[in-house]
């Protein structure tokens, strides 16, 4: 459904996109992960036809993204990463304008979404908080029930409750066989919804795999506090990567070998178990390293 084929757009020799390849099949949810400035939004701008690639091309439903961008919009819904609306409008008048520009008369889905996200549509947009604007953007992207959804960091600005509402919405659309591409800088957000994911770094795709194999390379560090020194000894002796960081406290790195980790824990008297929040580079450090070695 969405196809990116050798897409290259160099802003400078370091910044830009370089020979990007990936494909999202119909009914699939694709997570597009990368740190800030890696090229996620630039890729999406190409898909939306805002930018002309230097070489290569991208297509949606067989239509070229640069040449046929207006036709593509008929079947696509888009949520920009930066949310700025036209000035001097309320949420409702903005949504109405977009609907009219789409020549869409049905308002049932729109009202349903407004209800779901508990959005006060009468508020003038300039008085809205970031989260409220994000909701308006999400509704604008979903209300015409598009075949393809392109979402640039959809959950930024939403509170945890609304993030859950959003994730449910994505899962629902997935049931309806919609194709979705969403970008994020958080792996956890992608993990719950996506079938496959691509990791982009410095404009290059460093990983492009299904969710399962990504999970096996995902690194997690657990902080474990145990009761006795003997337990510590046991852990350090195990085949797992460990690091003693304090009195009877160890950091254990788990990467695909969850089973082994659980078995080890069952032999010890665990007092406290915690995971350390990590950024993307941390989680996929191994992945990045491996690629660099391969070069």
């Amino acid at each position: 459904m969405i196809k990116v084929d050798g897409l290259t757009k160099a802003f400078t020799s370091e910044k830009g996109l370089f020979d990007l390849h990936f494909e999202v099949n119909k009914g699939e949810v694709f997570g597009y992960i990368g740190p800030n400035g890696a090229g996620k939004s630039t890729t999406i701008r190409h898909l939306m036809g805002f930018m002309k690639p230097d070489s290569g091309h991208s297509s949606i439903h067989g239509l070229d993204c640069w040449k046929n961008s207006a036709q593509i919009q008929k079947l696509a819904g888009y949520l920009p990463g930066e949310i700025v609306f036209l000035e001097g409008m309320t949420g409702l008048s903005f949504l109405t304008l977009i609907q009219q520009m789409r020549k869409q008369k049905e308002t049932k889905r729109r009202d349903e979404l407004i209800e779901r996200f508990q959005l006060d549509v009468k508020t003038p947009i300039r008085k809205m908080s970031k989260g409220m604007k994000q909701k308006v953007g999400i509704i604008a992207a979903f209300m015409h029930e598009p075949e393809v959804l392109i979402l640039d960091e959809p959950t930024s600005g939403l509170d945890p409750l609304m993030q859950r509402v959003f994730i449910d919405l994505i899962l629902e659309e997935k049931m309806k066989n919609k194709t979705i591409l969403m970008s994020s800088h958080s792996f956890h957000e992608i993990e719950r919804t996506c079938d496959s994911a691509g990791i982009i770094k410095d404009g290059r795709l460093v990983a492009y795999e299904d969710m399962h194999s990504l999970r096996t390379v995902q690194r997690r560090v657990f902080e474990v506090k145990v009761r006795t020194d003997a337990d510590i000894e046991k852990m350090v002796q195990s085949s797992l990567l460990t690091e003693v960081i304090g009195e009877r406290t160890v950091h254990i790195t788990v990467q695909g070998n969850d089973q082994e980790f659980i078995q080890l824990l069952s032999q010890c008297e665990v007092q406290h178990l915690d995971t350390r929040p990590q950024d993307l580079e941390d989680i996929f450090m191994h992945y990045y390293d491996r690629r660099e070695v391969a070069k």
Binding site: Q73, P80, F85, M89, Q100, R102
Partner: protein, 268 residues
């Protein structure tokens, strides 16, 4: 053209447009209203005649005040109206394109099944409609004021309307090059600066060109050379020729703007 966008844009520009119309209408009514007292003033023309020629040209009173038409053309069309329209055209053209691209709201408009050409044409239509509104209201109130507010002085309605049509066309042309700049720029401030800069240079050349014979050549570099209200209202210019040149230039410039906008990369 996308009608919903057109209407919504007109609505959000209504306040600003209203302000400009109000300013122009109030001033033309005022100036017509005080005309009798100036026309009856003895020695006014002698006083004007005593001024240096360049100065007279500059304030639009080369031959003194001989008729209501001369007076309106020189005092209003030659000075204040020019400035009102310049400001309107520069501000609005920047707001309609560069600002939306700069802020990012253009992304939403382009995320609907309307092509860039359609969106840009709509914005151009909004710009020209606004300009037409100001000129039409000014024309109507000029005619009304000279008809009802003062008595004993005739305004030649035909030439007055012709003057207004030409004024509209001149500023359509200014609007068109400002729109082109606005369509090229990613940065709103830059678009505003460049279009204001170019227009001011044209205006200054026009002023300097009128001051003395030595600087007269500067006039040829300014679009305002084609805009001489007093000659226009006295039917001393070839209105049809000037009008057609301006109309064609406007259409060309707008077409170029739309094509440029269609082809360029947008940082949305």
């Amino acid at each position: 053209m996308s009608w919903p966008l057109y209407l919504s844009m007109m609505k959000s520009h209504a306040k600003m447009l209203g302000g400009f119309i109000y300013g122009a209408v109030a001033y033309i009514v005022l100036i017509i209203w005080i005309y009798p007292s100036i026309a009856d003033m003895k020695g006014f023309n002698e006083m004007i005649a005593a001024l240096p020629e360049g100065m007279r040209k500059l304030i639009g009173m080369e031959n003194g005040i001989n008729s209501l038409s001369d007076y309106i053309a020189g005092e209003f069309y030659g000075m204040l109206f020019l400035i009102i329209l310049m400001v309107y055209v520069i501000l609005t053209s920047t707001r309609l394109m560069a600002r939306l691209v700069d802020q990012g709201s253009m992304a939403y408009l382009l995320a609907t099944p309307n092509s860039r050409v359609k969106i840009a044409s709509t914005q151009a239509a909004v710009l020209i409609t606004g300009l037409a509104c100001i000129v039409v209201f000014t024309t109507l109130s000029g005619i009304a004021a000279s008809e009802w507010l003062i008595s004993g002085y005739e305004l030649d309605v035909r030439s007055f309307v012709k003057l207004n049509v030409l004024t509209f066309l001149i500023f359509s042309c200014v609007a068109a090059y400002c729109f082109l700049i606005s369509s090229i720029c990613n940065d709103e401030k830059k678009a505003l600066g460049v279009s204001a800069g170019i227009t001011l240079v044209f205006y200054m050349f026009n002023m300097a060109g009128k001051l003395s014979e030595k600087t007269e050549w500067l006039l040829n570099l300014s679009i305002f050379k084609l805009y001489d209200p007093i000659k226009m209202i006295n039917n001393e210019t070839d209105a049809l020729l000037t009008g057609s040149i301006l109309a064609v230039t406007t259409i060309l410039l707008l077409a170029i703007s739309i094509i440029v906008f269609k082809r360029r990369n947008l940082p949305l």
